[in-house]
């Protein structure tokens, strides 16, 4: 067993100076030598480089004490450094390894610092380009900006790497990056396994070479892509936005060149800064957009609320105004008896239609999905439809007659046939309201002196009630909106500005309550006098309540 002895009082002080010397060697001098002195200014080492091979010889060599000499070879950057040393208290191999590691580590750091110095300009340039990014509540404007910034960044980033966004994303970054990466032979789609390997390898990721990965699948992919050792593409997941799933894509040119490898860590930093800045601006933009949307929604809600209250007020005050006038007319001595008799018959009809409207508003103010669910008024029982339809027609008659001489008819023969053929369980109160709403609309939107016809039909599948009028047409594209809350056609808004847009919504909800449906059919004719038929359909097999 070899006996290791200390090198007396000689200590190799691996200080900054040594590394400066090594660096000078790295600067490419063909031949360079220097002395290393200890604290007492005694030469303890000589150093020279020749054709990229640096050799460090300790004082021990000069003293010709080779017994303690251990040659350490290491490779720093693209320079082979050989440390031949005769070291202190530890066995030379172990000590040499430590020194070698220390040298290697320090040299790496110094190289990095040097490169950082070089990168400073680069970073500033990138920074000034990124400064152009202003968060915008208009996301498309923001992406235009990003596009513009990426365009400017690509030549700058080009020196250090690039950015790539997942293929499924439609982000403009992708287009720009793909442009940039057209310079790359091929882009390898990284599998999740590869990402795991690469991610786990961090921060040593820059040291990874294909053969070192030990991941046959990765190697296979790389080889199959013909990338060999010349280009390794890595992605690092980086969150821009959950929907975008961006990744930094890295291109390492010439893995054999370790100096490039050293710069990659810094490249990653720069790229993270780029993507980080874009990501932050994007998040701010999204937040601004959300704030704007909230503000718009708030404005819209306030506007809708005001409109709704306005319409409801109008609709409630109209019949109330009529009732007050009719009641006062009864006391007016100058109005004749016959008219007073007529008015006294109308007063209950107006009151009933008013009550119907109040119900409508109350129902519609509930949430759409449970509009009648918790209503105590919902009571299903077997009903005959003829009396319901007749009483609805009678109640609406004054309104119809006074609206330019219109008339509501009920085909009692058909209705009685239906009553004799099928028995349907209905919530009478609600069905009455639905039919009243349909008749009311038919009166409002029909031509003067026309007839509103109410009929009923039955077959083995369903019982139907139809309300038909000759009047203004409902355009096909508007037929869906009329059953929504507040949905009105443009023509309806013009002709009845005070309407609520709730009537048909309530009809639709009432039919849902009965597992039935409401539909509208419009048959236009040449004189723009359209026959409009609303059909309430009650499926018989479902009507088991």
């Amino acid at each position: 067993m070899t006996k290791w002895e200390p090198l007396n009082s000689i200590v190799i002080n691996i200080n900054e100076e040594l590394f400066r010397i090594i660096l000078r060697g790295l600067c490419g001098d063909n031949w360079f030598s220097c002395e290393i002195r200890d604290r007492s200014d005694k030469v303890i080492a000589q150093f020279y480089t020749l054709n990229g091979n640096a050799t460090l010889r300790g004082l021990a060599i000069e003293k010709n004490a080779p017994i303690y000499l251990e040659r350490i070879r290491t490779r720093i950057g693209n320079v082979n450094v050989i440390v031949d040393s005769e070291l202190g208290h530890k066995p030379p191999l172990e000590a040499s390894k430590l020194i070698a590691q220390s040298i290697e580590h320090r040299v790496e750091r110094i190289l990095l610092d040097r490169q950082l110095g070089v990168r400073d300009d680069h970073a500033q340039k990138i920074d000034s380009i990124l400064d152009q990014l202003t968060p915008s509540q208009d996301i498309s404007t923001f992406w235009e900006q990003v596009n513009n910034v990426v365009d400017q960044l690509c030549p700058v980033i080009g020196a250090i790497g690039g950015m790539y966004v997942q293929p499924q994303s439609n982000s403009p970054i992708k287009a720009a990056s793909i442009n940039y990466f057209s310079l790359v032979d091929q882009i390898v789609e990284i599998t999740p396994q590869m990402i795991t390997v690469l991610t786990n390898a961090r921060p040593k990721i820059i040291k990874v070479t294909i053969s070192d990965l030990g991941n046959s699948e990765f190697e296979k992919v790389i080889k199959s892509q013909g990338l060999g050792r010349t280009r390794l593409i890595m992605t690092v997941p980086l969150l821009l936005h959950p929907d975008i799933q961006s990744r930094i894509l890295f291109v390492i040119d010439d893995l054999g060149d370790e100096r490039h490898l050293l710069s990659i860590e810094e490249d990653l930093k720069l790229l993270s800064i780029v993507v980080g800045r874009i990501s932050t601006a994007y998040s701010t933009s999204i937040r601004l957009q959300e704030q704007q949307l909230i503000a718009l929604q708030k404005d819209r809600l306030v506007h809708e609320k005001t409109e709704y209250i306005h319409v409801i007020t109008h609709q409630l005050l109209q019949p109330l105004g009529s009732l007050v006038l009719y009641c006062e007319s009864l006391l007016d001595e100058q109005i004749g008896f016959e008219k007073k008799q007529q008015y006294s018959r109308w007063i209950p009809s107006i009151a009933r239609s008013w009550a119907g409207f109040v119900y409508t508003v109350a129902w519609a103010s509930r949430r759409e999905d449970d509009i009648f669910q918790d209503s105590p008024d919902v009571q299903f029982k077997a009903c005959k439809i003829t009396p319901i339809l007749i009483s609805c027609a009678i109640d609406m008659q004054p309104f119809a007659q006074e609206q330019q001489g219109k008339y509501v008819t009920v085909d009692t023969e058909l209705c009685e046939y239906v009553d004799n053929s099928a028995q349907v369980k209905l919530s009478e109160l609600h069905i009455r309201q639905a039919i009243m709403n349909l008749i009311h609309n038919a009166i409002k939107y029909s031509f003067p002196k026309s007839t509103i016809a109410i009929r009923a039909y039955v077959d083995k599948h369903a019982m139907s009630i139809t309300v038909e009028n000759i009047g203004i047409p409902i355009q096909v594209e508007e037929q869906n909106i009329i059953f929504t809350k507040g949905g009105r056609t443009n023509l309806a808004r013009e002709i009845d500005p005070g309407g609520t847009g709730l009537g048909l919504f309530i009809v639709s909800e009432v039919m849902k309550l009965h597992d039935g449906s409401v539909s509208v059919h419009c048959q236009a004719n040449p004189k723009d006098r359209s026959k409009t038929t609303f059909v309430l359909s009650f499926p018989l097999h479902l009507n088991k309540r």
């Binding site: 019949p319 007050v324 006038l325 007319s329 109005i335 004749g336 609206q403």
Partner: protein, 169 residues
């Protein structure tokens, strides 16, 4: 002879029927229209000679089947105001107007205040409306009488002047 000629512009016929009855019982001549277009046709027919117009601010610009006299797409919720502007464009002095409305929009109310003799918010008292019609109709008559009288006086003055002028010459 009627006490005055009244035009009711209101789309809710159930509302104006009792008003019409009460006015006819008091010997007014009553005409009605249920849209701004219909109202303008009636006004043209009678050359805007009405003592009072009772106007609903939210009257539709047209009814079903009518070809509107107003530009399409107009805001029917301002139908009464649009009608009054059309009247002013054709008849400089306008027509004495009483507004009946449920409109609470301050902007529309302010605009209506500019030309209406009185504004009634529904529900209103028939008696009070009749009193207002009487009052506005009377003052309109007095106004026209005075105007006629002044017109005559001005004419006389002018003819005297011209005759004196003739002598001087």
């Amino acid at each position: 002879m009627s006490k005055g000629k009244i035009l009711i512009v209101e789309d809710q016929r159930l509302l104006w029927i009792p008003i019409q009855s009460a006015l006819e019982a008091r010997e007014y001549e009553v005409h009605w229209a249920t849209s701004a277009t219909e109202a303008l046709l009636v006004l043209h027919k009678y050359k805007f000679k009405f003592d009072v117009m009772i106007l609903d601010l939210m009257v539709p610009l047209r009814n079903v089947g009518e070809n509107t006299l107003f530009p399409k797409g107009g805001d029917s919720r301002r139908g009464g105001l649009i009608l009054y502007e059309a009247i002013k464009a054709e008849a400089k002095e306008g027509i004495p107007t009483i507004i009946i409305t449920v409109v609470t929009d301050p902007e529309i109310r302010r605009a209506a205040n500019g030309f209406a003799h009185q504004i009634f918010t529904k529900p209103f008292s028939l008696k009070e409306l009749l009193e207002a019609i009487e009052r506005v109709s009377q003052s309109n008559k007095i106004y026209h009488q005075l105007k006629e009288k002044n017109g005559k006086a001005a004419k006389q003055k002018a003819s005297k002047k011209s005759s004196r002028g003739g002598k001087a010459r």
